[in-house]
């Protein structure tokens, strides 16, 4: 096994253990099969039509990835700690919907709205709370591949928390074969979990890198989202990662 495969597996096991200690007890996350079983378990839970499942909904009108990253940080920073734990336990499950927030703000309560109206976020909560919104809209369908682009820098809005010195981090997205819709899913999980764990705070600088493949995995990666590699069965590949420094 390559060193990167080993790392991706370890990181994935850490992620599962952090969100759901119960799954870590049931499956041996140190083995590839145990990891795979845990993955299946999670996918099954997410697929079940359970009104009590905790999720956030994002209404997307159009996408500028760097701007969207910034807004996702603001949204996640605003999630109150009592909601954060439940959302974390559902692996920061998020539903992306096609819609125009300007047409919806009178009827629905959003926890965060992008300044330019390009997207809006509902607070994480039981799925039943967003049933009406989800019926009115359609799932966000964005099959275009993420275009390659030079690195973009952005600063997380807001005052740094007292006593915390802002840091610089790199946010990496693997673009080869990655659609815009998938990019939102990958980046959303990495950002949301990093924010909830205090790795991203107001005042931090982020650099968004869009590269065909994240390889090798930077040694200074603090968060990694790994997914099964569609072309190499049995292997994981890094879909997105957050690193120390840019």
């Amino acid at each position: 096994m390559t060193r990167t495969q080993q790392l991706l597996r370890e990181r994935t096991a850490v992620r599962i253990r952090a969100a759901r200690p119960d799954l870590a007890d049931r499956h041996d996350l140190a083995t590839p099969d145990g990891l795979l079983d845990a993955h299946r378990h999670i996918a099954q839970e997410a697929g079940a039509a359970d009104d009590g499942q905790i999720l956030a909904a994002v209404v997307v009108r159009d996408v500028d990835l760097a701007r969207w990253v910034r807004d996702t940080c603001v949204f996640a920073l605003g999630v109150p700690p009592e909601d954060a734990a439940a959302w974390r336990a559902s692996f920061t499950r998020t539903v992306f919907l096609a819609g125009n927030p300007d047409h919806l703000r009178d009827r629905f309560v959003f926890a965060h709205l992008a300044d330019d109206g390009s997207a809006a976020w509902t607070a994480p909560g039981p799925a039943a709370g967003t049933t009406t919104l989800r019926r009115l809209l359609k799932l966000f369908d964005a099959p275009a591949e993420v275009p390659p682009a030079p690195a973009r820098h952005l600063t997380v809005p807001g005052e740094p928390p007292p006593g915390r010195v802002p840091v610089t981090r790199g946010l990496h997205l693997a673009t080869a074969g990655c659609t815009v819709a998938e990019a939102l899913v990958h980046l959303n999980h990495v950002i949301a979990e990093a924010v909830l764990d205090g790795l991203i705070a107001p005042g931090d600088r982020l650099t968004l890198h869009r590269v065909p493949r994240i390889n090798p995995l930077p040694g200074h990666a603090v968060r990694v989202r790994a997914v099964p590699d569609p072309r190499l069965p049995g292997r994981l590949r890094a879909a997105a990662a957050l690193t120390d420094g840019d």
């Binding site: 159009d62 819609g99 809209l137 359609k138 369908d141 099959p143």
Partner: protein, 382 residues
Amino acid sequence: MTALATEPAAPGAATGAARRVLLAPITITPSKPLTPSHLKGLLWTDVMHRATQSLAHVTHRSSHTTYHPTEQTLGFWEFLDRTEGDTDYGDLTEEDIGALYVAFRAAARPSARDLRPYAEAAEHGWVHPASTRVLTLWSGHYARLGLHDPGLLRYQPPGLGLDAALDRLAGLGMCLDQRAVGGPVFLDLTRHGLPLRQLVTADGRPNYLACALRELLPLAPGFDEIVLLYDTELDSDHQQLARVLAELGPSVRRVPIGRVPIDGRIRSARQGGWRDVHAGALLDAAAGHDPAVVRLGMRLYFIAVLGPGQQQSFRPELLAQSLKRAERLLESAGQPQPEPLTDRLARHRKDHTYVDPYRLTSGLLGRRRAAPGLDLLTSVYL
């Protein structure tokens, strides 16, 4: 857009003589025989057209050119060329072509790429010979039924191209266009609590609603009233369409017309099942009657007897009774009527300008009714 808004005529203008009314019925894909459901819609529209014509300026817009770009038409054409090759469609009957259509609907969907040459040709007025054949046969049925021909075989392009129509919709704040990320285009009336409705698929295929908007968006500001006539099951789409058009000034009326079940089942034309009950067969079966009797009898049956709902199955014996009824009505008609025709027609309206075909036609029936004036029959029914 305020410059486009038209003030509704004062309610005092009872006859509505100056009102401009657009009748916009849904068109039928020219790929099969006309079923009883189709006939019902056509006769309903025709009576509305001719009755309202005495009271207002009526435009009856029903362009096949507008709806050729839908997938069900383009896909059928591509399927025929791929599977049938150089068939002489001029020798085929509607039922032959309809059987091919049923086969097409059962086959796998063609790709957007395969449809592109057909889409481009249709924009320039090209029609597949199978559809030309069907429309030619329909023209014959229209003539026998005394239906106004809105230009079945004419090239009548919509006033706007797809992009221009979507731009106009965006100007109204009613378009969600996600083509930049490879996604679909939606009609967006979520502001009014109506669900997003797809207009163009992610791979670029417009649906019939997108085609309707290309045609009706530029026409709408020129009318005081627009009447949308359509199958009941398309009601939610037409609620949305009405909402868009009303934004441009006219008052918009929706007239859903129930389908006609065959043996208790409402069938889609894609399933076939039109044997012996399609327009050509019904006309042939009625060939022993005087043409005026056929025209009036068909209207009595499909409008007054079946009504706006869809509870009653098609019953040939009731159609035969309607033909007899028509014969008697024509024999007894003709006495001079004290009331002018326009007043007799205007009674069958509510707060709208169009004349309600059901109220008008069922008014001809009933045992104790006075015989109708010949003027009414000739101007509306024959």
